[in-house]
Symmetry: C2
Subunit: 212 residues, 2 copies
Amino acid sequence: MDAEAPVRRRRTRIQTEKRELILDAALDVFSQHGFRGATIDQIAEAAGMSKPNLLYYFRSKEAMFTTLIERLLQTWLAPLRELDDIGDPIGELRSYIRRKLEMARDYPRESRLFANEILQGAPRIQHLIEGELKPLVDEKAALIKGWMKAGKIAKTDPWHLIFSIWATTQHYADFDVQVRAVLGPDRGGDGRFEDAARYLEQLFLEGLRPKG
Amino acid sequence: MDAEAPVRRRRTRIQTEKRELILDAALDVFSQHGFRGATIDQIAEAAGMSKPNLLYYFRSKEAMFTTLIERLLQTWLAPLRELDDIGDPIGELRSYIRRKLEMARDYPRESRLFANEILQGAPRIQHLIEGELKPLVDEKAALIKGWMKAGKIAKTDPWHLIFSIWATTQHYADFDVQVRAVLGPDRGGDGRFEDAARYLEQLFLEGLRPKG
DNA sequence: CTAACGTTTGTCCAATCGGTCAAAAATGCG
DNA sequence: CGCATTTTTGACCGATTGGACAAACGTTAG
């Protein structure tokens, strides 16, 4: 049931630190090569320690991955959790999009790791998707539906709306190589996220139809 | 230069057939597990033949992958190639979005294989992205920019517009497991693509701002 | 100092990997 | 038929993989 470290009684200071160090290295390697493509040796080297030493802190490659992806999902869903009925609907959605785009910019490894797992059929996190993600999305979809009924935003499908926000924002993390290559060295630099933010705001709020 | 089969002189009927059979099996396996995650044994079993026999038709795992992804890119870019100045701009974009969504529906394996490769930094197709994809996108972005200047569609960033079309449509192939799980057994069935089509059309044309 | 406990590593192992090879089986052709 | 060519396979190989293990090393409390 618990896929954790030696943990006889309490967790040592060293254990806490080294586990964090390992998880960071593992995130590097897993997000770049996927679960099967990553090797324990690679992770150990990235963490600056020997393979058996790494396996002293995590009993298996699977344990590292699980720990990583469960923690990641919480971070990843946080912005959606914050979506609520306090401000005005348009503003709420606008800042949700902005926050998701910031996450793609600041935590691209997490995004890629998650994408990799879903791409391969989510064999290790199916239960999290059905048990955590779906209920949360259903709840927020209901909230959004309320805004539509009240005429605060245009009537459309709230689930697909959420999908499209995920897709467009995470695209800048998951397909980063392609985005950069297509934009070229000038436009593909640091400014690409501000350009994306401006574009996405217009897309979601106004669409492409010319005014007037 | 040519990473092909035994090919002494011409390609036999059997060679042509078996190579197609193998490529189909390889697409199954590669799209599910990525390049490193896939094994020749898996592909051989999926193709219903022995491993050495498979290696008689393709000299290596890499050769299968390369053949597959080069062919795939052509299919994948075809809809964008068709984008031109003949019809009215709004209609052109509308049908581009529709075609891309149909491809996500009909060729999800291709989409996933491509996504997998990009996710991992496109180590094997960097040259195709820079040599083929970028020029095509630049060309079409210029076309779209012309439409904006002429007031046919709203002024915005054509490159990011293309990204957002890719992201939203391919999402339904790449994140299929998640989409289905979130929509549930009722809404996640065959109708999800029609729902998506309706939603995306509204998003891209009108945005979320309520009318009036 | 020393015993107990936490940490680190060198060495090893069975399983799996991509790929080779020679020989057998099937096929095409005069 | 008989011969050449193409197709198929079992056996094998070196390299890499995830992981086990015991011995060594470090740290700390009494």
